[in-house]
Each structure stands twice: as C-alpha cells, then as structure tokens.
C-alpha cells in the first residue's frame, strides 16, 4: 500500500469520527464566532478599523480555535491507545502525521469558511470577487498552523499538562507565519494585490513545506514515550 493510501485511510477515519461527534468542530466554531462578536461590540468596527485590526481579529480567532481542535486531534488515539496500533502498522509512520495534519487542515478550513460571512457582516465588509485571494491566504495560513500544530499536538499528547504545553510550544513557533497571515489578509481586504502580498504568500508556502517535511522526519520520535 502506498504512503498516500495510508494517509488517506487515516484522514478518512478522522473525518468520519469527527462528522459523527463534532467534538472538535463545535467548540472551534463557537469560539471563533464568539471572538468576532466580542470584537465587533468592543471596537465598533467597520470602515478604517476593518483594515487596521480586522485581520488581527480574524487570525486571533482562527489560531485560538485551532488550538482547541489540535489539542483534541490525538484524543481518539489516546482513548484506547490506538496510536500503538497505528505505529505497529507496516509502512512509513509519516503517513500517520500527514493524515492527522490533513484532518486538522480540513477542520480549520471548515471553521474559516463558516466565519468569513460573519466577519463580513460584523465588520461591514462588502462582498466581492476581490475576496477570492483571501481563500488562498486561508489555505496557506491553515496549512502552516496544521503542519506545526499537528507535530506539537503529537508531542504533547502523552503529557500530563498537554493543554498547557501545546500553546506554549506552538505559538512562538508559528509567529512568523502568523505575521504573514495578518499582513496578507490586510492587503487583500485593502484590495492591494502587489508584490508585497505575493511575498507573504510565498513565505507561507515555504513555511508550510518546511514544517511538513521536518515533521514527516521527526514524527516517529515525537510520539515515542
């Protein structure tokens, strides 16, 4: 069986379980919408404020929602020690990482797509085709979050203080990607598609590729006790 088939088997299993329980999606969606709502009332956003703090608000909601999802991403494997069975299966163990990472990416993208209309509504954002590149920023930014987050979630999954450790490990590590996400989102919302935007997108793509490659090599050491 190829690496990709094993990856897809793990992704499929995670998506089926998540679709049935909504254990991760429900708190993630609730939290993100709550953040948008609170900021809407606190700052009376719209107009200039949209460009100044809108991107930061949006990505703060996504990052903290992703922490909720990531901390649960190995809960299924922990519950009945199923990770042992995955590690025993033949083939490259990187497939476990990639399957889990793609599952986290799909969950995060799902939340982002749900949040976008509410963001537009709360922040007085006129809908238009210029928003399409925002989806590219979402995909690349979420890939960065999921790539780093899945590795650190695996590392902290067997630890007692895992809920505390995950943000402590992850947040400093994703800071460069997060800055690019905020900057690129700000540029798209300002309808400025210049070289600056593409340099941020390139930075996000490189970050995701580097982190996925590193994680594929390090994953089996990360899950060892």
């Amino acid at each position: 069986m190829s690496f990709w088939q094993r990856t897809l088997a793990i992704l499929r299993k995670d998506l089926i379980a998540e679709w049935r329980t909504k254990e991760r999606l429900s708190p993630m969606a609730f939290f993100s919408l709550l953040v948008l709502l609170v900021f809407n009332f606190s700052f009376e956003l719209g107009g200039a404020a949209l460009h100044e703090i809108g991107p930061g608000v949006l990505w703060s909601a996504f990052v903290f929602a992703s922490l909720l999802g990531l901390s649960r991403s190995f809960a299924d494997e922990r519950e009945n020690h199923s990770l042992d069975a995955l590690l025993m299966a033949p083939g490259d163990r990187g497939a476990i990482y990639l399957g889990k990472m793609l599952g986290n990416l799909v969950s995060l993208l799902f939340i982002e797509v749900i949040c976008l209309p509410f963001f537009a509504l709360f922040f007085n954002l006129s809908p238009g085709f210029f928003l399409l590149p925002l989806l590219g920023v979402f995909v690349l930014g979420s890939a960065c979050l999921s790539a780093a987050g899945t590795l650190f979630a695996a590392m902290s999954s067997t630890m007692r203080l895992r809920e505390l450790l995950l943000p402590l490990l992850l947040l400093p590590m994703i800071l460069p990607a997060l800055i690019s996400c905020v900057e690129a989102t700000g540029l798209v919302l300002s309808n400025r598609f210049d070289a600056n935007l593409f340099s941020h997108l390139k930075m996000l793509a490189v970050y995701a590729i580097v982190f996925v490659s590193l994680s594929l090599m390090l994953f089996e050491y990360a899950v060892e006790e």
């Binding site: 069986m1 049935r20 042992d84 069975a85 995955l86 025993m88 299966a89 083939g91 490259d92």
Partner: protein
Amino acid sequence: MADDDIVIEGASKHFASFVALRSIELRIGRGQFVLLAGANGAGKSTLLRLLAGISRPSSGRVLIAGQDPQRYAEARASIGLLSHHTLLYDDLSANENLTFFARLYALPDAAQRVEEALEQVGLTEQRHRRLRGFSRGMRQRLALARATLHRPTILLLDEPFTGLDQLACDALNERLRTLKTADCTCVMVTHRLQEAAELADRLVVLGKGRICHDEAWSGSPQALIDTCAPFLGAPR
C-alpha cells in the same frame, strides 16, 4: 538459531533515570507460547512494546524474524498485539474499525477478511454498531479480530483477560489455543496464571527489569502459581 522468531540481544530501556529493562537476552522459537510473568513494574509491558516495535531499546537490539521492527515494515507486519486496551476507535462501527486496519495493512482481500474476522469472534450481527455501545467482552473480541486480521505469525498479548467474565475468558482461551496449534508464536503477559497455564509451553519471569527465571513449561495451573509465587510476592 534460524528458527527463532524473536531475538532480544542485551536490550535495555531507560526512561530518564528510571531503568525499566536491563540487558535482556531472550530467544523465542517459532510456535512457542511464552508466558511472561512478573510483579507490577517488572518491565513486562515495556518488553512487549519493544517486541511490537512501538518503542525502541535504549541499548541492545530486538529482532523479529531477523529484522528490526522499528526499521522494517515487514517485521511489523508479522506482529499482532492484543492488549487490555482495545486499540480501536469508539466512534467507528466494528466493520469500519476492521476495514480501517485492513487498509493500513494493505490486505488484498480486505472485505472478505473483515467478514471472516467478525464471524470468528461472533460479531457479524453487530458489525454496523458503534463500539461506544459495546460491552467490555464484545470490545475485547473485536480487539482480537483486529490483532489477528492480518494473520500475524507472532502474537503479543498484554493482559488480554482484564475485565472479561469467565465465559469471555474461555472463548478467548479457545481462540488462543487455535492460534497455538496454527504455529503462531505467542508471548503473553498476564496475572491470570490459571488461564495461562493451559496455553504456555515456556515460562519467563521478569523481576526489576531482569529475567530471573526461564524454563520450559508443561505443568498444572497450581504448579505454575507455586513456581511464580516467589517472584510475584504472592503467598504460597
């Protein structure tokens, strides 16, 4: 020793300053049923994890059919693990669980194997029920189906009788007896010596991370309890 399925050469395992296993030397021949006994914390489960390729030794080496299970997928493919943890997913049905593992092991006739496995453990009628609604006995039967789905030549058993009633224990015993006659090499860790005595043909006792007793076994359950008692700290 070409017929040795399992070879452990000077394997030690440390967790920070704690030494779980110290220079273990053990060779297990094809088709042997080894009972691994010892007090709590003796290192039995750690040894099974090394054999399963889940964990790597701090020093020394473990070979399964001549290969390191950490590095060679073929070695891992020949091992099955039945533990007191089911290693299954509660939010998937019995059928989905087995199909998932069949995919991971790239079994050529996955659907047929899953069907046969469910039939062998008597769960065909419950195949579409989620595990969350299963009793402990049903879960353990499905765990056995998962552990043997890829027809392993080596079966590792870590306290497989935990939480099972007598009827379920008898059924599991019966299935293990069948595997034994099929020349499957088994290493079992259990405190239920009564059940293990009928299956084991070799007794290995671990104490403080070392092998402190190793002999071929064909005695009665009571003799096994008496033999193990000094190492387990139980009254004779």
